[in-house]
Each structure stands twice: as structure tokens, then as C-alpha cells.
């Protein structure tokens, strides 16, 4: 595109003819209008001619430059200039596009940074919440498992200190105490039975004493009768023998009275023994019944308690199993939570080498386009030698530098390298 001024200059030879052409209709009617209208129209003629040249007339062919030494014909030069004009337009559009692309890429970089930041913040919040929940769950599990550990202490691991006794140990200790009590009651009952036996023996002995007393009484009576008979027989013959018979009879009466006294005491003893025997018998039976009942109740209670304890142990074992499953889930969550770091690193790989590389390329293209535009304004540029492998030329601070293409430079760090190991853990 050429400027309107340049176009007017190129058509300057045709301006008088155009003025004449536009002025002829005015001359025909100049005498019919007021003089000031004629003057105004006359003054407008150059402006109208300029507008017509700029708007209506085609772009004139350029004149050959003074320093042109190419030896090309005017037609060839004209075609090249048309091509140059198209290239100029193309580069102008490319410049605009590269500017827009650069802005878009910068925006993309900004968005990637924003996404990384937002994701990290979100994951940190989730992680904190997860860790808090996990700690609480772990505390619960520790309590439950502590109880389970107490409930599942094996036999023979009883501790001596009472406060360290487990539930089964408490049950066993209570059962032992109650069994000991029942055993004591039974022992007491057995001892009472022995006592009763001894009393029976004593009563037997008393009965024998009673028989002996009967015999003694009988003997005493017979002795009294004999003494009386002897006294009657020897009456008047031998006074000494009579006195002796009287003394024997008196002794017999005394013995008889003593036997009666002994019998009375013996009867009292027998009565007391009978009463104590009855009391001991009743007490023994009661103690035996109580002991048997207590033993039965203790066994039943202990069985129930052990059964309950087994149920508690079963439930706690289930809790333990659930705890193990929770731990597995926690491990899986830990694995999943690491996605943020992995994603972040991948985004950084995308952003840093790829986006930056693209941005650098766009910068380069933009700068080179600007450079080409500048060159094109002055001279024709030979672009036939530029291909995909040619390094980009970048104008920075007035100096021209080159930028290596990807094929010439290092591979992008994010690209997967050949021979990458699938092993997750490797110790050197």
C-alpha cells in the first residue's frame, strides 16, 4: 500500500486534465449562479480532484529507482513489488497474530501458575482435614485395641498388680475367691458332720455310762438287800457284824444316790448334746445347701461373664479388622493425595520448558517479523533461503541474534526418556 500523498504525486501529471474535466461543467453554468458560489466551486475543484485520484484511481506503477542495478524489466519489478506488497500485508498480519499469541501464552502461563497455586491450597486444606480425621480415628482405634489387648491376654500372663488385671483375669479372680468361699463352707459342713459324729459317739458313751449306772444301782440295791439279810441273820449273835452290815447298807444307799446324781447330770449333758446336735445338724445342712448353691451360682455367673468377655473380644477383633481396613484406605488416600504434587510438577514441566519455549519462539517470530518489516520498507528481502531448520533471527537492542530450534537444542525436560524404569523403588 502506498500513501495518498505518494499516489497524488504519482498522478500529478494528470491533475490539470482532471481539473479541466471537472471545471468544464462549472464553466457552462458559471454565469447562471452568484459569483460567490462560482468562487466556492472553483476553490473546491482541487479538493475534488485529489479525492477522485486517491479513492477512484488505481494504484499507479512505481517508477524505477535511480540506484536499481538488477537489470530487471519494469514488468518483473512491478510483479515483485506486488509480491512484496502481499508479503508486507502477510507480515503485518503475522505480527499482529504473534503479538496476540504472545499475550495469550503469557495469560496461559499466568493461568497455569494460578491453577497450581489453587490446587496446592485446596489439597493442603484437604490434607489437613484428612490428617485430623485420621489422627482421631487412630486414637479411637488405639483405645479399642487397648481394650482388645486387655481382653485377649493369654492365660499365664496375669500380672500381679490388681490395677493391671484384665477382664478375664478379674473374672477368674472373682471365681477363685467365690469357689474358695464355697469350699470353706463345704469344709465347715464336713467339720460339722464330724462334730456330729463325735457327739453321736459321746451320746453312745453316755448311754453306756447310763447302763453302767443302772448296773451300779442294781448292784447297790442288791448289796443293800444282802447287807439287810445279813443283819437280820446275825441279829443278836455278833453286834460287830451287824454294824458292818449296816455300814454296807448305808454305803449302798450312798452309791445309789450318787448314781442317781450322776444319771441326772448325764441326762442334762445328753439333753444339751441333743440340742447342740440338732443345731449343728441344721447349720450343717444350711451351710451345705448354701455352699452348693453359691458354687452353682458362681459357676453360672463366671460362665456368663466369660461368655460376655468372648463376645467383647469378638467385637473388638472385628473393630481391629475394620481398623486394618481403615489403615489400607488411609494408605490409598495417601497415594491419591500425592496427585497434587505430581500434577504440579507436570504443569511446571509443561509451563517451564514447553510454554516458555513456545513463548520464546513467538517472541522470536514477532521480533523477526518486525525486523523483516523494517527491512522490507527499505529493500526487498530474499526469503528463499529460509526453511524450518534455519535459526530464528532475533533483534534485541538493535543487535541480531539467533535462537536454536528444538531440533538443534536440548530435548524438553518433560519428555519421557527411553529406557525409563517401571520400578517404583530401587535401592542402590
Amino acid at each position: 500500500m502506498i500513501s495518498p500523498t505518494e499516489k497524488l504525486l504519482r498522478y500529478r501529471s494528470r491533475i490539470p486534465a482532471l481539473l479541466l474535466l471537472l471545471g468544464l461543467p462549472w464553466l457552462s453554468f458559471a454565469f447562471l449562479v452568484p459569483w460567490w458560489v462560482s468562487v466556492a466551486c472553483l476553490a473546491m475543484l482541487p479538493v475534488a480532484a485529489a479525492v477522485i485520484i486517491v479513492v477512484v484511481f488505481p494504484t499507479p506503477p512505481a517508477t524505477r529507482r535511480q540506484d536499481d542495478t538488477t537489470g530487471l524489466s519494469n514488468t518483473q519489478i512491478q510483479k515483485m513489488r506486488e509480491a512484496s506488497s502481499g508479503l508486507h500485508n502477510l507480515l503485518g498480519r503475522w505480527s499482529t497474530v504473534s503479538r496476540d499469541t504472545r499475550a495469550s501464552l503469557e495469560e496461559a502461563q499466568h493461568q497455569v501458575d494460578h491453577v497450581i497455586e489453587q490446587t496446592e491450597n485446596a489439597v493442603i486444606e484437604i490434607t489437613n482435614a484428612f490428617l485430623a480425621i485420621t489422627r482421631k480415628t487412630r486414637t479411637q482405634m488405639e483405645y479399642a485395641l487397648g481394650l482388645l489387648q486387655h481382653a485377649n491376654v493369654a492365660e499365664g500372663e496375669d500380672t500381679e498388680r490388681g490395677e493391671d488385671l484384665t477382664l478375664p483375669q478379674y473374672i477368674r479372680a472373682s471365681e477363685a475367691m467365690l469357689n474358695a468361699l464355697a469350699a470353706h463352707l463345704l469344709h465347715f459342713s464336713e467339720e460339722s458332720l464330724k462334730l456330729m459324729q463325735r457327739q453321736q459317739n459321746s451320746r453312745e458313751q453316755a448311754r453306756r455310762i447310763d447302763d453302767l449306772l443302772d448296773q451300779m444301782t442294781s448292784m447297790s440295791k442288791q448289796l443293800g438287800v444282802l447287807a439287810l439279810n445279813a443283819s437280820v441273820i446275825v441279829q443278836g449273835k455278833d453286834q460287830r457284824f451287824v454294824d458292818l452290815a449296816d455300814k454296807v447298807r448305808a454305803l449302798s444307799q450312798n452309791a445309789n444316790e450318787l448314781s442317781r446324781d450322776v444319771r441326772q447330770s448325764l441326762e442334762g449333758i445328753k439333753e444339751q448334746m441333743s440340742e447342740s446336735h440338732s443345731a449343728i445338724n441344721a447349720m450343717t445342712q444350711e451351710a451345705r445347701a448354701t455352699a452348693q448353691k453359691a458354687q452353682s451360682e458362681v459357676q453360672k455367673l463366671s460362665g456368663n461373664m466369660l461368655n460376655k468377655n468372648r463376645q467383647v473380644a469378638d467385637n473388638l477383633a472385628r473393630i481391629n479388622s475394620v481398623g486394618a481396613e481403615i489403615q489400607k484406605d488411609i494408605n490409598q488416600i495417601i497415594i491419591s493425595m500425592q496427585f497434587q504434587d505430581i500434577t504440579q510438577q507436570k504443569l511446571r514441566r509443561l509451563k517451564a520448558p514447553v510454554l516458555s519455549e513456545v513463548l520464546k519462539m513467538v517472541h522470536s517470530l514477532s521480533d523477526e517479523t518486525r525486523f523483516l518489516n523494517q527491512r522490507l520498507n527499505a529493500n526487498l528481502v530474499d526469503v528463499s533461503g529460509i526453511d524450518a531448520a534455519t535459526p530464528f533471527r532475533v533483534v534485541k537492542n538493535g543487535a541480531i541474534t539467533t535462537v536454536a530450534t528444538e531440533e538443534q537444542g536440548e530435548p524438553a525436560p518433560g519428555s519421557k526418556q527411553s529406557g525409563e524404569s517401571d520400578g517404583k523403588v530401587e535401592l542402590f
Partner: protein, 120 residues
């Protein structure tokens, strides 16, 4: 129980590593970059160091080299915990003096079993 240093620029990763190791009964200190890790390594006697590779500033490989240059960490096991799984990177880590290489995401059980092997 071991004293372990976890080095990672990602807060989440540090938390995950710390949580896993703390639950296993270990004591964990955290550093978010190589410089901080070196400072902690100078003032503590760690039984093990777990570090990321890709970190801003000093990367994991450079950190291992720096640790190996310190007398107090010359023989401290260093595990690399990273998304990098390339043989070249592993070779660089091995050459720098790393003890092992774990690719993210790590499984807590695998991390603990590896830890046990290294500490034993």
C-alpha cells in the same frame, strides 16, 4: 525409632511423608528446600534423609552432593522420592551418593518397608 529429615517443596508431600513415618513411630523434621535441609542436617544427627529431586533452587541431586560433602552426613542414608523415573536421573542420583530411589506416588507400606531395609 529413627530421626528422619523429609525434604520436599510440596507441603502436601511433606505432610504425607511425615504422617506416614510419624505413625510408624519415627520422629520427622521437614525442610522445604535444599538450603533448609542443609541447615537442619548441620544441627541434627539424622538416621535417614528423604528428598525430592525437582525443587526450586538446589535440586535433590545437588542436595545429595552437598550432604555427602558434609562429614556429619557422609554415611547417612538418603532416599530420593520423586516423580522422576528415568534411568539417567537415577544414575545421576546414584553417582551423587543417593542410597535409593522411590517413584511417586509412594505407598506408605512400601515406604516403611524400604525404610526398614535401609535402616537395618
Amino acid at each position: 525409632m529413627a530421626l528422619i529429615l523429609a525434604v520436599d517443596d510440596s507441603t502436601t508431600m511433606r505432610q504425607m511423608v511425615s504422617f506416614t513415618l510419624t505413625n510408624a513411630g519415627h520422629e520427622v523434621l521437614e525442610a522445604q528446600n535444599g538450603d533448609e535441609a542443609i541447615k537442619l542436617a548441620k544441627s541434627n544427627k539424622f538416621d535417614l534423609i528423604i528428598t525430592d529431586v525437582n525443587m526450586p533452587g538446589m535440586n535433590g541431586i545437588e542436595l545429595v552432593r552437598a550432604l555427602r560433602a558434609m562429614p556429619e552426613c557422609k554415611f547417612t542414608p538418603v532416599l530420593m522420592l520423586t516423580t522422576e523415573g528415568g534411568a539417567d536421573m537415577k544414575q545421576q542420583g546414584k553417582a551423587a551418593g543417593a542410597t535409593g530411589w522411590i517413584v511417586k506416588p509412594f505407598n506408605p507400606e512400601v515406604l516403611l518397608s524400604t525404610l526398614k531395609k535401609v535402616l537395618d
